[in-house]
């Protein structure tokens, strides 16, 4: 709940795309590209649901600086992300981890597909061949056909 208070306090900050700011950029374009890739997965903690790639908030700027420094120091993406989660918790990453607590989150959609497929298969298996039309049904078809005629 600490974050909630902080969010409420800072909600007024205008967050506008910022990561491409030339003043912050790394000299090596390959490293810069790697850093940008990481930015997209890191949440700007004080903004209203934005990545630090998009946010102009000061905290986002600081986080970008940290990530860029670590990228230029040659640390891997996994190491940088671990560094961030150690400091800010899992909340900081926009991709939820594949941990047991998130099982339902990742598995849910595929459960729906499986359940749907199972229902469809039972329905198809219990199929009985269509019977001939009864005289009553044939009469109804005739009436419907007349109805459709202009």
């Amino acid at each position: 709940m600490r974050w909630r208070a902080l969010l409420a306090a800072l909600a007024g900050i205008a967050c506008i795309a910022a990561a491409s700011d030339p003043a912050e950029r790394l000299p090596d374009p390959a490293q810069e590209a790697r850093a940008r890739e990481i930015f997209r997965d890191v949440r700007c903690l004080v903004c209203q649901n934005e990545s630090i790639d998009d946010s102009e908030a000061e905290l986002a700027q600081d986080l970008r600086k940290i990530v860029r420094e670590q990228v230029s120091a040659g640390r891997s993406e996994a190491e940088i992300k671990r560094f961030l989660t150690d400091r800010y918790g899992e909340f900081v990453l926009l991709t939820p981890s594949l941990s047991p607590g998130n099982l339902l989150l990742w598995g849910g959609p595929f459960l729906v597909v499986l359940a749907g497929a199972a229902l469809l298969l039972t329905r198809l298996r219990n199929r009985t061949p269509d019977a001939e039309l009864s005289t009553e049904e044939a009469e109804r078809v005739r009436r419907l056909a007349e109805d459709e005629a202009p």
């Binding site: 700011d21 209203q48 990545s51 926009l94 981890s97 849910g108 959609p109 199929r127």
Partner: protein, 654 residues
């Protein structure tokens, strides 16, 4: 005076809605046409009454009557007329009034247009719609009255959030709400069918026009919102998988599934239970959206009309309405018939697969939106579910759906012929593969996903056209005959083709824009240059400009390609004096379907300005595609078969 009259009319509409429920219910129980008719009269009167209240609020906004609390909090006398009008629905209270206007409006529409419905079904539908009206009007009157007065009116209002002062966003809520609330008719019809214990082809035929209308309006509403986000938020994104966006997307997905399953129920009498379920779910998701957006339980870039205390009330309304609806469903649905049988390869199976995948896609969006809340409530651990999650779950599900899509309309009912379908689609297969390969060869060999996406878009477009060719027997009969068949196609068929075509157009735009977007940013002095791909940009001047309620720095940026003039754009950085917020007004250059997207940033030391430029290839298609889809919905709505009143009139003649 006018505000009081409006407040009175609002109260009156609540009373009229109560009367509507009573009369229609009595009409159903006693089988009395007179009572049911009176109930319909009450529905019409309730709508007129809300309309009066709405007009009164709009009057208060237009005349800047700051003695009305809502106007004082959300308007400003210097605001242009359009935004003073739009201010009517720019706040929590006003938007709830708009919701009630749409709700009673749809109630009046059933009362007025539903003459062809069987009496019992009609009475229950009107009663249910009235009950929804009672709930939401009571909420508006007692918990969020938009016409409340202030004892000491301020001299000046606090103004509307400047981000919302935009033409697209001025008309976005009316479309969105008409779409959301249009689902209420479908909900009421489903309740009526459950009460009457009857779901048949006729019922599905009645539900389709309402579902189509609501779906089309929602499509337009969401597209307007996306377009607004694209050019107003200033970094060129158009969809963020933000909770508020998801809130509008879930009813859309459910309504899309409903439109497809209703076809099976109408043509083959099958899936009636599932169609009812979706009809209930569509409006439940609309209400969930209304709750999520207003309650502040989720953090969002679009959180504008937030009020946590009233969120609880909305949650209760949602729980009560959806809970009662689904309980009725659980009780009555098992007694409904199963309908016709079908083979594994058939139109029915294809539509069932469509529904399974759309349901799974909805589950993805729902989980992604609510899971962080649930997890935090249960374990206290906060997690974020951002765009990467949706890219990994939603995208594969939708891709599977889109691979199957062109085959569906070509399959026969009951027993289809897979080989025949492939024969009719081979040209589309070739076109899709060729487009993918062409992209790899001509644009960039490294972006395999982009190439796959382009192939997918081409597959959808070519598949829709192949289906049209099949229906008209193009290239197999004379051109004249093809033309005759083309003109003679039912509007419903045109609607489907357009909707599927629109999806393909959207996919092409989305894939191009996300895969081959270019970006450049530099702190430029006046006269400075910046290159973006083949384009050469120069910041010619920065001049101060005064707007009606803001001050701005306006940059003049000239774009050249190989020395030749391409266009001139004038992006602004605005300071809204009333609230002290800054926003950027993007400069857009249209190059065919692609956009040059130019943003003027803040002034830096040494008199330089931060200029950002994006090349967004084919970005127009992202917005044109959904418009084509909505157009398909409207064309289908005009189909003679669905035209309200056709069935009954014919019965009367017979």
């Amino acid at each position: 005076m006018i505000a009081e009259a409006g407040a009175f009319a609002l109260m009156l509409s609540l009373a009229l809605s109560v009367v509507q429920v009573g009369l229609s219910t009595a009409g159903r129980i006693r089988r009395s046409a007179a009572l049911a008719g009176a109930g319909e009269g009450a529905a019409l009167a309730a709508f007129l009454s809300v309309a009066v209240a709405f007009a009164a609020l709009m009057h208060a906004f237009v005349t800047s009557d700051f003695s009305v609390a809502n106007v004082a909090a959300n308007s400003h006398s210097e605001k242009p007329l359009l935004y003073r009008v739009a201010g009517t629905w720019g706040s929590h209270e006003g938007s709830m009034l708009l919701w009630c206007l749409a709700l009673t409006g749809f109630g009046a529409a059933i009362a007025g247009l539903g003459r062809t419905l069987p009496q019992g079904l009609r009475a229950v539908t009107v009663a249910t719609q009235g009950a929804l009206g009672v709930v939401f009007l009571a909420y508006t009157v007692f918990a969020s009255n938009p016409l409340a007065r202030l004892a000491q009116p301020p001299v000046e209002g606090r103004s509307l959030n400047p981000l919302l002062q935009d033409p697209a966003l001025a008309v976005h809520p009316p479309f969105l709400y008409a779409g959301y609330v249009g689902m209420s008719v479908v909900f009421s019809l489903a309740i009526a069918a459950l009460v009457e214990g009857r779901v048949d082809a006729a019922w599905s035929r009645w539900i389709r026009p309402w579902a189509l209308a609501a779906w089309s309006l929602l499509t337009v509403g969401i597209t307007l919102g996306a377009f607004w986000a694209y050019y107003e938020l200033g970094w060129g994104g158009w969809w963020f998988w933000d909770p508020v966006e998801n809130a509008s997307f879930m009813p859309w997905l459910v309504a899309t599934a409903l439109l497809h399953s209703a076809i099976v129920t109408e043509k083959r009498g099958a899936l009636s239970g599932w169609t009812l379920f979706l009809a209930l779910a569509a409006f439940s998701f609309s209400m969930l959206g209304a709750f999520l957006v207003r309650s502040g339980v989720l953090t969002s870039v679009h959180a504008f009309a937030v009020d946590p205390t009233r969120g609880v009330l909305l949650l209760i309304i949602l729980g009560l309405t959806a809970g009662l609806g689904f309980s009725l469903f659980a009780w009555r649905a098992p007694s409904l018939g199963r309908g016709g049988m079908f083979a594994p390869i058939s139109r029915e199976s294809a539509l069932v697969l469509n529904n399974i995948l759309l349901a799974a896609a909805t589950a993805t969006v729902l989980l992604g939106t609510l899971y962080p809340l649930i997890r935090e409530a249960m374990t206290g651990e906060a997690i974020s579910v951002g765009p990467p999650y949706f890219n990994l779950t939603f995208t594969p599900l939708m891709s599977a759906l889109m691979i199957l899509l062109p085959a569906g309309p070509l399959l026969a009912w009951k027993r289809g012929d897979a080989r025949g379908v492939l024969q009719r689609l081979w040209i589309a297969v070739v076109i899709a593969a060729a487009s993918g390969l062409a992209v790899i060869a001509l644009v960039s060999p490294k972006k395999a996903f982009g190439a796959l996406g382009v192939a997918m878009g081409a597959w959808l477009v070519a598949g829709a056209l192949a289906e049209l060719a099949e229906r008209t027997r193009a290239f197999r009969v004379s051109a004249g005959e093809t033309w005759r068949r083309l003109v003679g196609l039912p509007r419903g068929a045109w609607g489907m083709t357009l909707a599927h075509l629109g999806l393909g157009v959207f996919v092409l735009g989305a894939v191009f824009e996300t895969t081959w977007k270019l970006e450049a940013a530099e702190a430029l002095p006046v006269g400075g240059r910046l290159s973006l791909g083949a384009y050469e940009l120069s910041l010619d001047a920065v001049t101060p400009v005064a707007g009606p309620n803001y001050e701005a720095d306006q940059g003049t940026i000239t774009v050249r390609k190989a020395g030749a003039f391409v266009c001139r754009a004038e992006p602004q950085r605005r300071l809204y004096t009333a609230g002290g917020q800054t926003t950027s007004e993007v400069g857009l250059c249209y190059r065919g379907a692609s956009h040059l997207y130019l943003v003027l940033g803040e002034r830096r030391d040494g008199g330089t300005y931060l200029v950002r430029a994006y090349w967004n290839p084919w970005a127009s298609l992202i917005f044109i595609g959904p418009v084509v889809m909505a157009l398909g919905g409207l064309v289908s709505l005009s189909d003679r078969r669905l035209r309200i009143g056709v069935g009954r009139r014919r019965e009367a003649e017979a």
